[in-house]
Symmetry: C2
Subunit: 380 residues, 2 copies
């Protein structure tokens, strides 16, 4: 079998830094395997001479022990392996090796030429603040509760949240398209309720509609949400695919802010010896896909995320990525707003705070409860 020796490669490469379990020798063997597995999937001794062998397979750029029993290896790949598109980029970075133990993606180093192929977040932090008309303080996102509530009940809730000054009002991620709250009716009623409240308050609260519907109906459902006045979308990227989020974010006709939700993604981050770091997944990849905010569990709540995990996510939301805007970290999952000093010291003011159960716990008056939390943020 003959192969062409020249592929017209640009010479540009992207870098991926992996944490590899094992001694330096074991880690080097893993790194060498990654170079092949993520590109040609072919034995090195059978590779044809020329560009494939010399440039297309991954290249170990650095390998250093970072603790007893693990190493950090930076591997570069020819830009062209990715086809300059997100699905194949994810495939090169972590496709097959997701099935091999002891490999964790720590961070991506993407050249301008690759970043330039992505629109990234349409709004980002600055754009979302502009749309909301809120300059500096942390933002409040109230969560519509709960699965089982009817569209009327959810809309009434959305109305109260907006009246109380919640900046964003998002569907609980379990509100999909169920018999007791069909997608269209829910979204239409909630969008209308928030619009009505905005007229009364003079504020610009945005309702984020969860488009967790069959994949062949996501685009039309998002358009419907926009038509009936939803102010943004909630997208479960782990279920619908990161590239579905990208295609929604990149749709100029749609032009809505998007919050990514981490449902079904936990397994990438939960074991330190495998997967993809929170920095890379919730920061870099979410931004490449074009999310304007990434929801995740705050430390100390219902989930097992550590303070360090939250710091890493926040770093990823703002690390330099060419012209791709920084995005909002949106911690939730049992967040206690009473712990505001800790929240501010961790996230700073560029943060969206997700509050659900606590908005209902304070008192039966959701307007008052929302106002209470909003004032807490205004005074933060």
């Amino acid at each position: 079998m003959a192969f062409a020796s020249q592929l017209g490669l640009s010479g540009q490469r992207l870098g991926v830094t992996y944490r590899l379990q094992g001694s330096e020798q074991e880690a080097r063997a893993k790194a060498e395997d990654i170079c092949l597995e993520q590109t040609v999937e072919f034995p090195r001794d059978l590779l044809p001479a020329g560009d494939i062998c010399e440039h297309l397979v991954g290249r170990i750029e650095a390998l250093v022990a970072d603790s007893p029993g693990s190493c950090q290896a930076t591997i570069s790949f020819a830009l062209e392996t990715t086809g300059l598109m997100l699905p194949q980029l994810l495939n090169v970075v972590f496709g097959n090796i997701s099935m091999k133990p002891g490999i964790r993606v720590e961070w991506l180093d993407l050249p301008e030429s690759l970043l330039g192929a992505f629109k990234g977040p349409r709004f980002g932090r600055a754009g979302l603040r502009e749309r909301l008309g809120v300059r500096q303080r942390p933002l409040l996102c109230a969560v519509l509760k709960m699965m089982g509530a009817s569209p009327r009940e959810l809309a009434e809730q959305a109305y109260c949240y907006a009246l109380g000054g919640a900046d964003l009002i998002k569907d609980d991620h379990g509100l999909a398209d169920q018999s007791f709250a069909p997608f269209r009716e829910r979204v239409e009623r909630c969008a209308e309720a928030v619009r009505r409240a905005n007229r009364e308050t003079g504020l610009n609260s945005l309702y984020l509609a969860n488009v967790l519907v069959p994949s062949d109906r996501v685009a039309e459902s998002a358009r419907f949400a926009k038509e009936v006045g939803a102010g943004g979308l909630l997208v479960c990227a782990g279920i619908l695919g990161w590239d579905t989020l990208r295609s929604l974010a990149g749709d100029d006709q749609l032009g809505l802010p998007i919050m990514a939700h981490p449902s079904f993604l936990g397994n990438y981050g939960i074991n330190l010896t495998n997967g993809i770091s929170y920095f890379a997944l919730y920061g870099q990849i979410a931004r490449l896909a074009g999310a304007d905010a990434i929801a995740f569990p705050n430390h100390g709540g219902r989930f097992a995320y550590t303070r360090h995990d939250c710091i890493e996510i926040t770093r990823g939301t703002q690390v330099e990525m060419g012209r791709l805007a920084p995005i909002f970290p949106a911690p939730g999952g049992g967040l206690k707003l009473e712990r505001m000093p800790d929240i501010l010291s961790l996230y700073g003011r560029d943060v969206i705070l997700l509050v659900g159960g606590d908005l209902h716990r304070r008192s039966p008056d959701l307007v008052k409860n929302s106002r209470y939390f909003r004032e807490m943020l205004e005074n933060a």
Copy 2:
């Protein structure tokens, strides 16, 4: 906040059996948490009376210690929580709890009323055998190598494989839409080459085109593949989303067999204390999505899958699921066909064997090499 007390629920429930790390007491606490987290995401003490509290939240049906330090818990959910659609089903089964440690989905127990909402595999084992005209023996799937090859080179390879009698010929999963092998040109040339070989052999080899393209181009790319004569599709469900596979499988105009590829899915299975079992993910979920075959690494190859893992996958491909057809396990990843007795004892004859590098290693004559492997299967 008032909620309706009646939701018009059918009373039907789906069951999910989880393996939970911890003592029986800890596991029970985890199970109780799952009941809420996967449905209402709301504190139990604040739940409204009526259907939400009594029927919509998950219900622990059984909890037994299965080894020191872990328990199996079966939790049932009201059918309506899933909206009878795959994205929300995955969300209920494992969405938020993917972010909590020590929880693994072992298997799903889906009632007919839920299974009936899914078309499932269009071909399955019997349908694919019929299309290929091969009754009983194991099937040979040759893999087009490699990233960096041109469409002409790949088509020449496909032609040789088909001439040598490979039943299926699949794109390597790293062949996406790159400058050196654009999707349309690659698929058109490969489909044509296999058609040409079929005319010479009188066989009916099928070329499976990898539709790893941006999500908003997947459907049109699949249609293009069909138009130019591709015999089936390869779908990286972990990247494009399981429901994208479902929408392709369910498309009557398309009507092509689909092999699911496990790229980017490894993290769900790799740690025994987290994620989703191979049985449930590669068996039950792949079938719900409508895959006709599931590719995965055979034990003893380049990956760390054990013999037990492969047995579990195979069990999942054929376990009773209402009218959903059994599908082909398609082991690869460094499969040695010389180990045929082991392969047969593990998988039986209803198996697709993926062969890539070994087809190139035997000799430079790919027709002869393919014929060699095919004869090995005819005599198996």
